[in-house]
């Protein structure tokens, strides 16, 4: 258990030490909640770092998708909850990201290519770098980079499709 804690604290610290000084509560709260859920799962032991990060990213994804879904359900008229991207002004067409739709698309990607969906989960939901993602999956950094680029293109198209329908 202490290992889980240290690792999560490390993730939290990395978030907190980012260049932006205005994001403190949200990401810490998210990491805290991830920690609580991980301890609730009562896993006997973490096999290694990779196992830990894989589970942490999965749980972060779960939390965010659950929140987005509950928000969606609470609003009448089926209004979709969206996360605003920080560079919204630069690229208005990318202003909103529908986390629930992304989750669905990612499930579709997993059916075609399990490894690519895990790359996206670790990098986007887990906040890992290319190098850390490579370490967790036991593949090379250049493979992660390639997987990331092609998966992103596919996901982007899927999200735009579902937005139009």
């Amino acid at each position: 258990m202490p290992l889980v804690y240290t690792e999560l604290r490390r993730i939290a610290n990395r978030y907190l030490q980012g260049e932006r000084s205005d994001h403190t509560l949200q990401s810490t709260a998210l990491v805290h909640e991830a920690y609580v859920r991980m301890t609730e799962q009562n896993l006997p032991q973490w096999h290694n770092r990779a196992h830990f990060f894989a589970v942490a990213a999965q749980i972060m994804r779960q939390i965010l998708v659950d929140y987005a879904r509950s928000h969606r359900a609470s609003k009448r008229g089926g209004d979709v909850y969206k996360l605003a991207l920080e560079d919204a002004e630069e690229q208005p067409q990318l202003r909103d990201l529908d986390i629930v739709a992304l989750d669905d698309a990612l499930k579709g990607l997993a059916e075609m290519d399990e490894q690519q969906s895990r790359v996206v989960e670790l990098k986007f939901f887990g906040g890992l770098s290319i190098e850390d993602t490579a370490e967790v999956l036991g593949i090379s950094a250049s493979t992660v980079k390639r997987d990331w680029i092609t998966a992103r293109a596919w996901l982007y198209r899927e999200l735009n499709r579902s937005a139009i329908v």
Binding site: M1, Y5, L8, R9, A12, N13, Y15, L16, Q17, G18, R20, S21, T24, L25, Q26, S27, T28, A29, L30, V31, H32, E33, V36, R37, T39, E40, M60, L64, Y67, S70, H71, A73, S74, L83, A84, L85, E86, E90, Q91, Q93, L94, L97, I99, E111, M112, D113, Q116, K123, F124, F125, G126, G127, R146, I149, T150, R152, A153, L155, Y156, R157
Partner: protein, 311 residues
């Protein structure tokens, strides 16, 4: 798309994206030969790649602005209370103003709702354990804890005396209080803490936002002992990850060591420092919580008198 087909698409896509735009057509001619579907598919994805630019998914989810909030509870009932409006929120949950909905009397209260996802069973267990002690704290400078329970959807909540006032540091600034007046206010806070310590209750989270001064000029300490109930790691020998600003934390809290009444005294000292100097005892250049934690544990703060002399 079947996965063999995707492998094929992916490999050509990967090769095409790596090339300058002007060379892509020739590359596709070569690799898609007469498979028109394949070519169309790859071209469509190249377009998506270009449109996605550098922003799409490149900021980790936890850093995105506007993480979804929980659905609103305004107007709903919690126990015998009806929620009037939200007063504040933080990493642990929200605080609401509420009134008794059973018409017994017109009393307004503050309700602190613990956000979903925390270990609610453990929170309730600690609450049951602590409630008698906390509810018995009866002091004019301590906000009362009345009650607590679980909402219909299983979230723990606490019902507390509603205090309307300003954080003590802002109050002192706005009313332009003299050093003497500040000290008078502060000694009342100390008396309240002493009262609780004599009953073996530690506050654990003393900071200006937990010390409100009412319109009558009475300081009131909020959330006495609440940090222990909400702390998911209480009793576990590990360091804390808590969604709080550590500025008023003591070295033992930062290090995750056992907490004593001295912990509160340390935090009171930091509050006093701010009331007297208008500054934090730690250098303003300290930015990250990690840096701050190091300062708290290792660096002797500048004396308040010399802090005042600083520009």
């Amino acid at each position: 798309m079947r996965s063999e087909r995707w492998q094929q698409v992916r490999d050509i896509l990967d090769g095409a994206i790596a090339l300058p735009r002007t060379e892509r057509a020739a590359y596709l001619d070569k690799h898609c030969t007469d498979d028109l579907d394949l070519r169309r598919e790859v071209e469509s994805l190249i377009q998506s790649h270009d449109e996605a630019g550098s922003v799409f998914l490149n900021t980790p989810a936890a850093d995105l602005e506007g993480l979804p909030a929980m659905p609103t509870r305004i107007g709903r009932r919690i126990g015998v209370y009806q929620i009037v409006c939200e007063i504040g929120h933080g990493g642990m949950g929200e605080v609401y103003r509420a009134v008794r909905a059973d018409g017994q009397y017109e009393k307004e209260v503050a309700i602190k709702l613990v956000r979903g996802g925390f270990d609610t069973a453990a929170v309730l267990e600690r609450f049951r354990h602590e409630r008698q002690i906390l509810a018995s704290l009866d002091h004019p400078n301590i906000a009362r804890l009345y009650d607590g329970g679980t909402t219909e959807d299983g979230l723990p909540y606490l019902v507390m005396e509603l205090i309307e006032g300003e954080p003590i540091d802002e109050y002192c600034e706005e009313h332009d209080l003299s050093i003497n007046e500040r000290l008078k206010l502060f000694t009342q806070v100390c008396a309240a803490v002493q009262y609780a310590h004599q009953r073996l209750v530690i506050h654990r989270d003393i900071k200006p936002s937990n010390i409100l001064v009412t319109a009558d000029g009475v300081p009131k300490l909020l959330d006495f002992g609440i940090a222990k109930i909400l702390d998911s790691t209480a009793g576990v020998e590990t360091t804390l990850v808590r969604p709080m600003t550590p500025e008023y934390a003591s070295p033992e809290q930062v290090r995750g060591e056992p907490i004593t009444t001295a912990t509160d005294v340390y935090s009171l000292g930091v509050v006093l420092y701010r009331l007297l100097t208008g500054k934090s005892p730690y250098p303003e250049t300290t930015r990250t919580p990690l840096e701050l934690a190091r300062m708290i544990c290792e660096v002797e703060p500048a004396r308040p008198s010399s802090a005042l002399a600083r520009p």
